[in-house]
Subunit: 137 residues, 2 copies
């Protein structure tokens, strides 16, 4: 497991990819943002079937990057609850634009098509509501 | 080299990551969008120093995904010019949001800070101008 994130350059896109440039990290953020998932076990259940070692690695990178934080689960000391930090919540517009782009060009779930319709109608409102949901918590 | 892109699910985020979920692909898009690069040799020169085999692989995936197209260089038959398709140009808002997020939280180049200031002032205008630049070509 990595000890620290190494940045290849000071390009903001490159820097972002040094953190989440892989097939899995943004899916964990997706699960936190849109699917109400907050535990290791819940992330493992997602349909893309992330492997346990990859999940552990990505959670550790996300924590190192200050995108998620963890606390003890109130029901069990053995369980951990993951939360998005302000830096993680600020990824909402990135994910929204990825969804809008991908829905336009790919065969996606009906619920994603429905969500994209809301985006076409009033993207700012959807983004604002998502931010409100997460800053209330 | 991959023959086709395999999609893990019909989630739009997962689908997008099946195409560009790595540390390099969006840097090639960045070079096409913001740095006026259009040839293999130009992509190799970028400061992150992409390896030739990775570059060839990513260009082939981008072409398969319909994000770039290629044509012969007018100066030399041995050279290829890469262009963004409409699907590639539609990635502008994704890259813009990544830049805005990354600039807020990371140590980035002065020119990226300056660009982020323009985004804070009028993001829609910057996005519109970028679209205009590319749809004129």
């Amino acid at each position: 497991m990595k000890k620290k994130i190494e940045f290849r350059s000071q390009c903001p896109i490159s820097t972002a990819l040094d953190i989440f440039g892989d097939k899995w990290t943004l899916l964990v953020i997706r699960d936190l943002l849109f699917n109400g998932k907050r535990t290791y076990g819940e992330f493992l259940e997602s349909e893309e079937k992330i492997a346990t070692n990859i999940l552990a690695d990505r959670l550790s990178i996300l924590e190192m990057a200050g995108i998620i934080s963890k606390k003890k689960h109130p029901d069990s000391n053995a369980k951990i609850l993951y939360n998005l930090t302000a830096k993680g919540i600020d990824l909402i517009p990135v994910l929204i634009e990825i969804i809008a782009w991908s829905e336009k060009y790919h065969d996606v779930h009906p619920y994603a098509k429905k969500f994209a319709k809301q985006l076409h109608k009033d993207k700012e409102k959807v983004v604002r509501q998502l931010f409100e949901n997460f800053t209330k918590k």
